[in-house]
Symmetry: C2
Subunit: 232 residues, 2 copies
DNA sequence: GCAAAAGTGTTTTCTATACACCCATGT
DNA sequence: ACATGGGTGTATAGAAAACACTTTTGC
């Protein structure tokens, strides 16, 4: 096999930005970096690509290692490659973001990483350019969520409309009119009303809904104009 | 300086997908690959990242080498990293797409690359996964152009509305109603009407317009819903 | 009975769409 | 005079936005 001559290879890492939502707060999962140097600083979960692994595969592996989860919504965000972004050694990082159901996440698996959930507005200083990456991920999520029903990936199988609305309000950091919200969400036909209620957050209780997965898939591309133009 | 141990570095390339528009046809610029092996096959213009170069910088350099152009619309598309995507040697490719004014492009500069413009529908077979990349770029351009005024980057300083409309029709591969198109485009306030006409494509002539650059910048984010829902 | 959250309709404005004819000019 | 492409207006339907009160129920 021929080789390209005189080219300097570099390390390629994949970093994962993992979002979760507990029904009230949008959160980010970060770890305490285990390897020297810069040990014990907060960091995104990442790793280097394996010899027989593609980028998506590496992202899935890294996500599985930290969360124990398969079949998660995962999307490539951007590649970062400043020569000095990682002071240890030149590393190009390909960044993914994941939206997970925080309830499926089990703490045991990740004890070795000292992982912790932070509210989005309280994310600590992270190593290297990781805070920039998180900001870019939020921008992309806002963009995507305005056009496609991706935020359902953050919810459990059964959820209430107030939970869903709060999620949208957190993502866009602005209040949404509740009547218009319900009208749009029901008009989308994506929700199936359940007969029982969640009584944990009010006396009256809020009906559970679940997602119509077929319609969700079918309408993924056409779920447009979801966010009110006047929001924020 | 410490190093990460036991990690295998790989080559990182940047490939550029270069689009142009001649007033009638949307086109792609590709080169005849100069280096063995797989010499003389059509390929995107690319190169490996330099030691002191970031990814955007590498993309700009590569674009400059081939087109002689600075200050071009350039956007990172995606990173590709299958272990066997380049059979010569493991290479992760970070792909950018560029939208250039084809009239600013001067043929001399790139004679050494045997560059050639192809109509988008007649792009030949390219090496590796380059055809997949081109398709992804077109998808992204359609997405972006529906929300943001990026297609102006393909036009010369002065252009006519029929040219602009044809461009949109090519990008979306579907006819657009001319009265509705003019209404929307003038409503956007982005165009400044000139007093003279382009007579090259009709006896009557079509007025030239130029872009209001300040408004273009200001409205970049809010230029929404440009493409008719019924197109195609 | 009251506090706290869930749920429900109507009106108005705006935007998108469909649609067909006259205009200007060079030959 | 005619062929060719450029340019113009209106009516209709659908979507978005603004807006406030009633319901339920545990305490």
């Amino acid at each position: 096999m021929g080789k390209y001559l005189n080219q300097k290879p570099v390390l390629v890492a994949v970093d994962c930005i993992i979002f979760g939502y507990d029904g009230d707060q949008l959160k980010l999962l970060v770890i305490k970096r285990a390897i020297e140097p810069i040990k014990d600083k907060w960091s995104l979960m990442g790793g280097f690509i394996g010899e027989n692994e593609d980028l998506d595969g590496a992202a899935k592996r890294i996500l599985l290692e930290l969360t124990g989860l398969h079949d998660v919504y995962l999307e490539q965000l951007h590649a970062y490659g400043s020569p000095d972004r990682d002071p240890i050694e030149r590393t190009v990082s390909v960044v993914y973001f994941a939206l997970i159901d925080i309830h499926k996440y089990s703490k045991q698996i990740n004890d070795q990483y000292h992982a912790e959930w932070f509210k989005l507005k309280e994310v600590p200083e992270l190593i290297f350019d990781h805070n920039v990456m998180v900001k870019a991920a939020m921008d992309k999520i806002r963009y995507q969520a305005a056009l496609h029903p991706i935020l359902f990936e953050l919810l459990p199988k059964r959820f209430t409309i107030p939970q869903l609305q709060t999620l949208y309000e957190q993502v866009y950091d602005s209040p949404i009119d509740n009547r218009n919200f319900i009208r749009k969400i029901t008009a989308s036909g994506l929700l199936i009303k359940q007969s029982d209620k969640d009584k944990s957050s009010s006396r009256r209780g809020a009906f559970y809904f679940k997602l119509d997965k077929n319609k969700h898939k079918a309408q993924f591309q056409s779920f447009l104009n979801f966010i009110p133009k006047t929001s924020k």
